[in-house]
């Protein structure tokens, strides 16, 4: 084996600490070579090993009778009845999207799609949760336009509808935008594929695109060995090829319908290294690869480069014995590369050969077991005191509403989602713009409801309550369309975990998420952690994005946001009174302040109100429903009025705290007069507060003698995004 001496610089450029290097020496009993060092660095990276977060992630509730597979596989799996499973996960592509927004976001979509279809699921919906810097920041417009175009460019071409998501702006993301993409897929329960390799001698097969020098660890630049042709060998940005991904989906689906696959995994971050390593490790197997057989895009690639390349649109498959020809024929039909690059062994070692020479020989289990796990020091976030409504400026409601409905965080996202094909597959029953997206389970009258949410300003002020709130909001959004919330995926975006206050945010947010999952019977089945989101020591706001999935058993009862007709009764369900202005958008946008404790989430109340609302929806008692979130009651009403193009006349509500407070666990409902008594009685029986606050009708929102025309609100609401994007930088 060639052994170029590992230098201190090599260790550093591979992102390993001295302690970690010592551990490597212990595990190996000798010095690693560069290939091996590269593999260690990848396997022990934060991304692959979760070394800072593992201890805390273990505390999350991950089971329920309907959970088929929790965290640990490429994506989580839940039982949705009739022999079917929903498979989903969310993943970040933050850093690449900041460097190259179009390709960064595009390859983020490609990556999460592979995580889902590698398990046997046909992807049926994509979501994206995006956070950008302040709209005034010189880079923001360029990043928004590139990221959205990238998501569209990839998702539209592969033919998976992008049905929802979130977009927020805040200065804390100026140097670190967040691009979190989620995919939901559908599989038959008896056709789910896992990644644990088994069967000594079974062929290891590489399919998809060729391997190039994309995204190879920066070490290739610094290391002396690669200096000669630095221009040629420079690590490059990964470019997505959605057409190849589409072929890969179809080819994998076709192969999965046969009985040829023993196990399968996509090549995600750290490509061939993590896929082969994880598959072997999970199955307690060894693996031997012949690196020259890896399909290569460029000449003169080294095993180091092939192992660390992050070229997109590739998968690794362990075939059952004798199935090579069946598999090859399918991939050739779809005009994709197909190569048997090695086989499984019983040695428990990873052996890489290059033209016959052994270039890497690592023990798999010890390496996996010795992977670092840190209990990083953390300090709890200092809580802020509760802000009294009387200490907050009271602005006339029409002015406040106009400001809020057209502010960057609340303005219509049409400019974004009209660039996404959200209708392909012809099963989108609720398009973007509502509370949760709804996609039909093909060929049935059932649907999946999907929502992504988090309110970072709440998490910053109180990570525990903020973590709870994020989970609860997805639960509420799913409930509002009539869905039964089943499980979540999470994408934990934070700053540098080596700072105790950031680690504190992580620990407490996870605790909050866990509490909400428990309280709502809504387990975590997959997720992703993205740390070190800081520039010049300025961390992002803690942003644990949650993606929730629920089931609608009968699409005939699906509920939507718009007011449907004139003269219907408007009701406010949940917590009477209200008036929580701390950390509200009203406070930020109208008063220019970001302070106070965020609204607490009472999980028992949440559940009681949500279950009541859902039962009313299922009983066909409601005509419209919308949960309250950013901007509180008035914003929710305005959204219902605008989307239905029906105004409303309000009563029994007054004061900025009542109108714009962001108390949790509440919904606005409309009912026909004839159903009012029944709904009221049901609320009383369910111990849910229900206030009558007005009636629909007219072309304005009217309250206490003042009114705002819907036409004016619409201009503000729909005008901001296109206006902002059209302005020259």
């Amino acid at each position: 084996m060639t052994t170029a001496k590992i230098t201190a610089a090599d260790i550093k450029t591979h992102g390993l600490s001295n302690d970690e290097y010592k551990k490597i020496l212990e595990v190996l009993g000798r010095e690693p070579n560069l290939v091996e060092l590269g593999i260690f660095s990848v396997m022990w990276s934060e991304h692959c090993s979760y070394k800072s977060s593992k201890k805390w992630l273990k505390t999350l509730p991950t089971t329920a009778p309907w959970v088929i597979c929790g965290p640990g596989e490429n994506a989580g799996v839940i039982d949705i009845g009739e022999g079917l499973a929903a498979i989903f996960k969310m993943e970040s592509h933050n850093h690449p999207s900041f460097i190259e927004p179009y390709q960064g976001a595009a390859t983020g979509v490609g990556g999460i799609l592979r995580d889902v279809f590698t398990m046997g699921a046909r992807p049926i919906a994509n979501m994206n949760a995006l956070r950008f810097g302040s709209p005034d920041h010189p880079k923001t417009r360029h990043l928004v336009s590139g990221v959205v175009a990238g998501i569209a460019g990839y998702g539209n071409c592969v033919g998976v509808p992008t049905v929802g998501g979130e977009v927020n702006f805040h200065a804390s993301y100026n140097g670190n935008i967040l691009v979190n993409a989620m995919t939901v897929g559908l599989a038959k329960q008896d056709k789910i594929f896992y990644s644990a390799a088994a069967g000594a001698g079974n062929p290891v097969v590489y399919v998809g695109s060729k391997t190039g020098r994309d995204g190879i660890h920066g070490a290739t630049m610094a290391s002396a060995e690669f200096d000669a042709n630095s221009e040629e060998k420079r690590p490059t940005v990964q470019v997505g090829d959605p057409f190849t991904e589409k072929l890969l989906i179809e080819a994998c689906m076709e192969l999965m319908a046969t009985d040829a696959i023993q196990s399968i995994q996509d090549m995600g971050a750290a490509g061939l290294t993590s896929s082969s390593f994880e598959m072997a490790s999970k199955g307690g197997m060894g693996v031997e690869l012949e690196m020259e057989k890896v399909p290569q895009r460029e000449e003169g690639m080294t095993p180091y480069e092939m192992m660390l390349s992050e070229s997109q649109e590739r998968m690794l498959i362990i075939l059952k014995p004798g199935k090579e020809d069946i598999a090859r024929a399918i991939f050739e039909k779809w005009e994709l590369d197909f190569a048997v690059i090695g086989h499984l062994t019983t040695t428990g070692r990873m052996i890489l050969k290059f033209h016959g020479e052994v270039v890497c020989d690592l023990p798999i289990d010890p390496l996996a077991q010795a992977s670092p796990e840190y209990d990083r020091p953390w300090t709890p976030t200092r809580r802020q005191s509760i802000l009294e409504a009387k200490d907050v400026k009271d602005v006339a409601w029409p002015e406040a509403l106009k400001t809020l409905i057209g502010c960057p965080d609340l303005a219509s996202r049409k400019w974004v989602y009209e660039q996404y094909d959200h209708m392909v597959m012809a099963d989108t029953c609720q398009r973007p713009g509502g509370d949760a997206a709804v996609v039909r389970i093909h060929g049935s009258n059932r649907g999946l409801a999907i929502s992504t949410d988090v309110t970072p300003r709440y998490v910053l002020a109180d990570p525990l309550e903020g973590g709870k709130q994020a989970v609860a909001e997805t639960w509420r959004n799913i409930t509002a369309v009539g869905g039964r919330p089943l499980a979540i995926t999470d994408n934990l975006n934070f700053g540098n975990p080596q700072k105790p206050e950031i680690m504190g945010q992580i620990v407490e947010a996870i605790k909050g998420i866990g509490e909400a999952c428990k309280g709502l019977d809504y387990p975590v089945i997959s997720g992703n952690v993205s740390l070190y989101n800081e520039t010049d020591g300025n961390p992002i706001m803690p942003t644990p994005a949650i993606g929730g999935v629920g089931l609608i058993d009968n699409l005939d009862t699906m509920m939507t946001v718009p007011f449907k007709a004139e003269k219907e009764i408007i009701l406010l369900a949940g917590q009477a009174g209200g008036g929580w202005l701390g950390q509200s958008l009203y406070l930020r946008e109208i008063c220019g302040q970001e302070k106070g404790a965020p609204p607490p989430v009472d999980l028992l109340h949440e559940r009681r109100v949500g279950d009541f609302v859902r039962s009313m929806i299922h009983g066909k008692k409601l005509t419209a429903c919308h949960d309250l979130s950013d901007g509180g009651l008035m914003v929710a009403l305005a959204e219902m009025a605008l989307s239905g193009d029906v105004g409303c006349e309000l009563k029994n509500v007054a004061g900025h705290a009542r109108l714009f407070g962001e108390d949790q666990g509440r919904y606005v409902l409309t009912v026909k007069t004839s159903d009012l008594a029944g709904v009221k009685a049901a609320a009383t029986a369910a111990n849910v507060a229900l206030e009558e606050i007005g009636a629909t009708g007219g072309t304005a929102i009217a309250l206490n003698g003042a009114s705002v025309a819907l036409a004016d609100l619409r201009k503000l609401h729909e005008g901001w995004f296109p206006g902002y994007m059209a302005r020259p930088a």
Partner: protein, 229 residues
């Protein structure tokens, strides 16, 4: 009616339109692989939406040269009805079955939304269930739907009544604002000379089911079944 849908490697509305067709025909829709040249007997061939071969060079360019398209051209000459939707429209223009070209949207962005169309001509197997002048709501989803042809061609198309649909306001006005992509004269769909081939950017199969929010698209498939039964 025997209907078939072409499947290119990057087609992604093939299943959608097959489902919509089956709903109207009550029969299974035949799926035709892009390398097939030996096609079954068909009354209608649909070239569906998607990104045929990735569409990286020019939308529809590679699809137009595929083996199956040569056969479809022959069938079209014999009068078999051909419907090109979205990418299918791009392909059949590239293949010369209908005149014109679909260029990049004037706004340079992909646009997915419902639009209103004014039915310009109801004298075809495709549009027989609509009335000329009727306004229908059908979704679009494309980045390159900007219909272009020279003035002479456009005048001829209009003169011969070969414009099938135009982008319009909900009340039927043909305005700049109603035009989502910059198409010449707001053209959303055109026929060939004999009205046996129709190319259109909007997706009738996306609003052929009340669960998806509307059924204006279904009338096209029903009309085909009625005429070609």
């Amino acid at each position: 009616m025997r209907a078939g849908v072409v499947v290119f490697p990057g087609s992604n509305c093939d299943r959608d339109v097959a489902v919509a067709l089956s709903q109207s025909t009550g029969k299974k829709t035949a799926m035709i692989w892009h390398r097939d040249t030996d096609l079954p007997d068909l009354d209608l061939i649909v070239v569906p939406g998607g990104f045929s071969y990735g569409d990286y060079l020019r939308c529809g360019a590679m699809g137009a040269h595929s083996p199956v398209m040569q056969e479809i051209k022959r069938r079209a000459e014999k009068g078999t009805r051909v419907l090109g939707i979205c990418n299918g429209f791009q392909i059949i223009t590239e293949a010369g079955l209908v005149p014109g070209v679909l260029m990049r949207n004037a706004g340079l962005k992909y646009v997915c939304k419902d639009v209103f169309l004014r039915v310009e001509d109801s004298q075809s197997a495709f549009t027989a269930r609509y009335n000329a002048g009727q306004i229908v709501r059908i979704p679009i989803g494309h980045g390159e739907g900007n219909y272009f042809a020279d003035d002479e061609t456009l005048d001829r198309l209009e003169g011969e009544g070969l414009v099938a649909f135009r982008y319009a306001t909900p009340t039927g006005e043909i305005t700049l604002d109603a035009n989502p992509n910059g198409s010449q004269r707001n053209i959303a769909g055109v026929f060939n000379k004999s009205r046996t081939v129709l190319g259109m950017m909007p997706h009738p199969e996306r609003l052929s089911d009340p669960k998806l929010g509307g059924t204006d698209g279904r009338a096209m498939f029903d009309a085909l079944v009625e005429t070609l039964a």
